[in-house]
Symmetry: C2
Subunit: 208 residues, 2 copies
């Protein structure tokens, strides 16, 4: 494909759309041509939503989840257990954990994972604020709910080190077989962890 | 996933991004979270490019390709054959045909294909202007370069009917085997057309 569409306006739109993650040049062109075919109001609404999102979005001062008020609805709910804090990577993961209905505590959104390759260190994440929060609020349990990846494990370990002197229980999500999966197709690493961390059969009834 | 992110700003951004073709709710959320992590200037540039694209884009008055001037660079080029016009569905297809280097004439961008299911009729496309142009400019050949789909064939046939009384040769792209493909895996319809429309072996040298 040519580098230029004979139109700086189209070139610019394709370049800007192509900066979004997962959107290559061909997709960006398809989006731009779609926008050209719609009513002008559609372009205005889209552009307005993007600008407002970036400039007006606020974060909960306690858990750093997105919020339109100073304290997010979860943090200000009287029915949640304030002494159990689930640490997640991002806003999406709050929704994912919420959808399980298994966590009745609050959250703490890190805003990413430690990743030296991407130049993301502990100081770029909401880790200091987590340690402060654990101290100030007397949190009893921190549940690390990060992805089971290299970055997730590095971040888990770093947070554990920062919290280990404090009177707080630090737990992390169990690694094991996916419910409904086939033993034959489970990778050896996961299968190995699920043997190491095998659970008492009777305890599955206690947790239900 | 929940319907709401506890933030009307994020909800609105996800809804607007999700209106783009091929972008579902999950992808829209991923894009929105990406935008939130970037510098504010990135959101401004993206929003600005979208707004300018829709409001300031002009079209070549002759071929209806996107253009920042009244006449696009192809139409105003003295080295192109003005009497051969290649009819394409959209702006992307102009680039695709140009990339072959096999067409030295001009273009005519329809802006879509006839598709009763989508409510697109001949009057929604640049077909009247094509007929007018053929008459006014004394075009010698119209090459129909539309996709080999039901909509493309319908549009081909409609344009052919509109032009058949005029002194213009109407041609269409050959259907046949893809270069480099395997006969065994060619569908029967294409193989059948490639037998019906078989070409003299010697003519392949004449065209080279």
């Amino acid at each position: 494909m040519n580098d230029s569409f004979n139109s700086p306006l189209l070139d610019d739109a394709v370049r800007q759309l192509g900066r979004l993650p997962g959107i290559g040049r061909k997709t960006a062109l398809r989006l731009a041509l779609h926008i050209l075919r719609q009513e002008p109001s559609m372009a205005d609404e889209l552009a307005g939503a993007i600008t407002r999102l970036r400039h007006e979005m606020q974060y909960c001062r306690r858990c750093h989840n997105v919020s339109d008020s100073e304290l997010c609805p979860i943090c200000s709910s009287p029915s949640r257990d304030e002494l159990t804090v689930c640490v997640v990577e991002n806003v999406k993961d709050v929704l994912t954990v919420e959808s399980t209905g298994q966590h009745r505590g609050l959250y703490h959104v890190l805003g990413g994972l430690i990743s030296p390759i991407d130049g993301i260190g502990p100081a770029d994440l909401e880790i200091d604020s987590l340690v402060e929060r654990v101290k100030a609020e007397g949190v009893k349990e921190v549940i690390l709910a990060l992805s089971p990846t290299m970055e997730g494990d590095t971040t888990n370990f770093y947070i554990f080190r920062r919290l280990q002197e404090l009177p707080v229980k630090v737990t992390m999500l169990a690694r094991g077989l996916s419910v409904g999966s086939d033993l034959e197709f489970t990778d050896e690493l996961t299968l190995g962890r699920s043997i190491q961390q095998r659970i008492l059969f009777s305890s599955t009834f206690a947790n239900a």
